[in-house]
């Protein structure tokens, strides 16, 4: 078995595990109960999804897909601080 098939098998085995994690996170998003709970669940989902995207780039053998995870991670952080600002401050601009 050469390296490339081995990598393919390994990643194919990993994918369902990732999806179990995603679905469990999603259950937490659905159950809430408060806004910060949802936000941190989205955080976890987003960061893990970013990793998953990087893993998939190897599975699909197209390295050109790789800028996507970085952008996703950045924006999840942005979402965090937006919501934090909303909860914390009197107005968004302050």
């Amino acid at each position: 078995m050469d390296l490339s098939t081995q990598i393919t098998y390994f990643i194919s085995a990993v994918i369902p595990l990732y999806f179990i994690a995603f679905i469990l996170y999603f259950v937490r998003i659905l159950r809430g109960p408060t806004i910060p709970d949802i936000v941190i669940a989205i955080d976890a989902l987003g960061y893990d999804l970013a990793v998953f995207l990087a893993v998939l780039a190897i599975l699909f053998k197209s390295p050109l897909l790789i800028p996507c995870p970085i952008v996703l991670a950045l924006w999840i952080y942005a979402l965090d601080i937006y919501v934090a600002k909303y909860l914390e401050a009197r107005e968004i601009g302050a």
Binding site: L59, F60, K61, S62, L64, L65
Partner: protein, 142 residues
């Protein structure tokens, strides 16, 4: 068996997108809050965009995943280009969706500003109260 499965998954995905479209259209038409209408509007246009991307998708020989339509060898040989044709997805829907996403963002930005202005003027973002206030203002004249 594999063609059937591909076809089933593809069509199920389309059905899901259509249902998303319908749910968000319900949100646009029936929910009273203007902000909720805007949220629904984004989902609506995104679902249609996803449909466009799905139209541009294809599978390669042996049901392999295609690659993005990018020439990776510079300068390419004829052989390289024909390999790309055999494995790349359709770039045109992607370009169309790019344009459509930006356009819907622009429209949403304007509508958000408008909602804000409506709140400053009237003190509400509820479509029903707005309709009432409007009717009252129209009766009272200028």
């Amino acid at each position: 068996m594999m063609p059937d499965m591909a076809r089933f998954v593809y069509n199920s995905l389309i059905v899901i997108l259509v249902f998303n479209t319908a749910i968000s259209l319900y949100g646009i038409l029936a929910r009273p809050s203007l902000v909720k209408k805007l949220i629904a509007l984004t989902i609506f246009s995104d679902s249609l965009n996803s449909f466009a991307i799905l139209v541009g998708y294809r599978l390669c020989k042996g049901f392999e995943q295609p690659v993005p339509p990018i020439v990776t060898r510079i300068p390419p040989t004829q052989e390289h280009i024909s390999k790309l044709i055999a494995t790349a997805v359709d770039p045109l829907p992607q370009a169309l969706v790019l344009t459509a996403i930006v356009i819907s963002l622009a429209v949403l930005a304007f509508l958000a500003a408008l909602t804000l202005r409506i709140y400053y003027v009237s003190g509400t973002t509820d479509a029903r109260s707005l309709a009432l206030m409007r009717a009252r203002a129209a009766v009272e004249g200028e």
